[in-house]
């Protein structure tokens, strides 16, 4: 490709981002790099980033909240596929508000009634299904975090970010980590479900950041998460080499390796600098050679796409301004005359 060529949208893969993004803000970096990142549940354009983040928008390709646990992801995908909901997915918190047990964080103040919560869950599952059907690539960030298992039906819920038992008051949920066999069984199920939904989907697995709640200074406390993370690292390599349409994306290795060494990633906060984020986006969008060797030079495809999007954005802004100008002229007459006439009497 020469520098003058602009790739068509058909040449760009449609990317879905799911799992546990933590503080990486990978969605932001991918969009900034010009990736065709699917947003199946977009916030209104005018919503502030702060408000959107508070309600779980713009972070992933659907409003799932961070779900880095394979068992929980599998349960969610089962619901996407069948439309069935487990018996106790509606949690009542100590504040009296109801919460979707699979994404307790996305409506931070809860929902007043079960009918609305069910309406939202069904719509969310439909949106998630569309995202997965429309995507060419799925970047799935899986982390070492445990899940909350309902002993009554073995449903695995994400260990919600607040980690706050008051959100599911009175439920006897068990905080569990999975061993290698269980992780393998979960991913085999997940892989099958995804292949059924979208046979052409390329699954790009990555280790997601370990949530700070899992990382206590006390080694014995964080051991289960570390063990699961270690198992996942080994298994992901195995799955990438043995399962069709599965590859491995070393996002976490680059964060904790090169980016940490150059001060572009902070292990304490789990955040990357804008430059670090751009490097991660290039890793996700670039060629395998770029991934392996050179994080500092931009992949040409990404740059051209970004320029194309910037040009489109500028053209849209110009058209908007032109339209506003036309409207303003006629509005000016109406509004001014209203006042002049009323106050000339």
């Amino acid at each position: 490709m020469t520098g003058d060529e602009v790739p068509t949208s058909a040449a760009r893969p449609r990317i879905a981002l799911l799992g546990a993004a933590g503080a990486l803000e990978l969605a932001v970096h991918l969009r900034d790099a010009g990736a065709d990142l699917i947003d199946g549940e977009p916030a209104p354009d005018a919503a502030s980033d702060h408000l959107a983040a508070r309600y779980g928008y713009r972070r992933l390709s659907a409003r799932t909240g961070d779900v880095g646990n394979l068992s929980a992801l599998t349960c969610i995908l089962q619901s996407v596929q069948t439309g069935d909901l487990p018996a106790r997915w509606i949690w009542r918190g100590a504040d009296g508000a109801l919460r979707d047990g699979f994404r307790a964080s996305v409506d931070p103040d809860g929902i007043a009634d079960a009918a609305e919560l069910t309406f939202l869950r069904k719509a969310h599952l439909g949106a998630l299904k569309s995202v997965l059907r429309d995507a060419d690539d799925l970047i799935l960030l899986v982390s070492g975090e445990g899940c909350l298992v309902d002993p009554k039906d073995a449903t695995a819920y994400p260990f919600h970010p607040a980690g706050d038992a008051r959100l599911h008051k009175g439920m006897d949920l068990i905080h569990e980590y999975q061993d290698m066999e269980r992780l393998n069984a979960d991913f085999t199920s997940l892989h099958g479900l995804l292949a059924e939904l979208n046979p052409r989907l390329l699954i790009r697995l990555a280790l997601g950041p370990v949530a700070p709640r899992e990382m206590s200074a006390d080694f014995t406390t964080c051991l289960p998460a570390l063990r699961q993370l270690s198992d996942l690292r080994v298994l992901m390599a195995h799955w990438a080499s043995t399962l069709p349409r599965v590859s491995y994306l070393p996002i976490w290795e680059h964060c904790t390796g090169l980016l940490a060494q150059t001060g572009q990633f902070s292990a304490a906060t789990g955040q990357v600098t804008p430059e670090g984020g751009a490097a991660l986006a290039r890793l996700c969008l670039g060629t395998p050679d770029v991934e392996a060797t050179d994080l500092s030079s931009p992949a040409p495809e990404v740059v051209h796409v970004a320029e194309d999007l910037a040009q489109k954005k500028a053209r849209r802004a110009e058209r908007r301004a032109k339209r506003a100008g036309k409207g303003a002229a006629s509005d000016k007459v109406v509004c001014e005359e209203e006042l002049l006439e009323a106050f000339s009497r």
Partner: protein, 278 residues
């Protein structure tokens, strides 16, 4: 004792002035109990004001001229000279709620298969954020830094169903379609809740009188008749946004009781006056 009310707004103030004149001509008691002083500027002209020495002053000549014309010669607003302040319109319009309704759907809304579903809580929080960014909210915040006097606010009237030819074309915010879908009441509820959240901390809302509304979000056409284009009725019938003297009169007849000498004196006045006018 006469209640001195300062009315500040944009072009929607016109209907309030004409309605007041109509009531005064008919000898309505409310016009004897309350004395009005108007200030305003068309469109978003009040972006050109600033707080200086305890007063709101125009920062451009055109707005100063409007102030003088509307207030019989006063070029600045001194909040201490009044018992209360009423803000009219200034960007607080149902149009913002309708814009969200066109792209998103929340529980309780009938229409909108295929639109992005969001919780009522998010819809309300998003709209509150939008209404908190309006000129009305900005002026209310400026006033709350200048005076302890009660600040009231009323939104721009809902559009009238004047424009059947505009449905689906430029300038159609979807009033008719939403009303026809039976979503008017839910949209109106969302509008009221989010405006209260976005502005309620700085002003007490007084809502459009129920008798002027049909289908939840539409102003009855009798309150728009003759207001189109120019208030006298000249020009084409193409302005569904501005209301006539009858609308202003209906508003004052219903809400005028809020402004009495007693509410000016009692600290609980704001809370009592905050009930929905119906």
């Amino acid at each position: 004792m006469t209640y001195r009310l300062c009315v500040i707004g944009n072009s929607h103030v016109a209907a309030f002035k004409l309605g007041w004149d109509q009531l005064a001509a008919a000898g309505s008691p409310v016009t004897k109990a309350v004395a009005l002083t108007f200030f305003g500027a068309p469109r978003d002209g009040l972006k050109n004001i600033a707080a200086e020495n305890g007063k709101l002053v125009a920062t451009v000549e055109s707005v100063r001229e409007h102030f003088e014309r509307m207030s019989d010669g006063q070029s600045e607003i001194d909040p201490t000279a009044y018992d209360g302040i009423l803000l009219v319109g200034l960007g607080v319009s149902m149009k913002r709620t309708l814009r969200l309704y066109r792209t998103h759907r929340w529980f309780g809304v009938q229409q909108g298969e295929g639109r992005v579903v969001t919780s009522r809580a998010f819809a309300q929080a998003f709209l509150a954020e939008r209404y908190a960014g309006t000129r009305l909210a900005q002026v209310a915040r400026m006033l709350s830094g200048l005076t302890e006097k009660p600040v009231y606010a009323t939104p721009e009237p809902y559009w009238s169903p004047l424009m059947p030819d505009h449905v689906g074309k430029k300038g159609d915010f979807g009033w008719a379609k939403a009303a026809a879908a039976g979503d008017g009441d839910e949209i109106a509820r969302m509008f009221a809740a989010s405006v209260s959240d976005g502005i309620g901390g700085h002003a007490t809302m007084i809502w459009q009188p129920a008798l002027t509304i049909e289908q939840g979000i539409v102003t009855r056409s009798i309150y728009n008749k003759g207001a189109s284009k120019f208030i006298s009725g000249d020009g084409e019938e193409s302005d569904a946004a501005h209301m006539n003297a009858d609308y202003g009169a209906a508003w004052w007849a219903e809400a005028g009781q809020v402004f009495s000498a007693s509410t000016a004196r009692h600290p609980t006045a704001r809370r009592r006056a905050g009930k929905r006018v119906s």
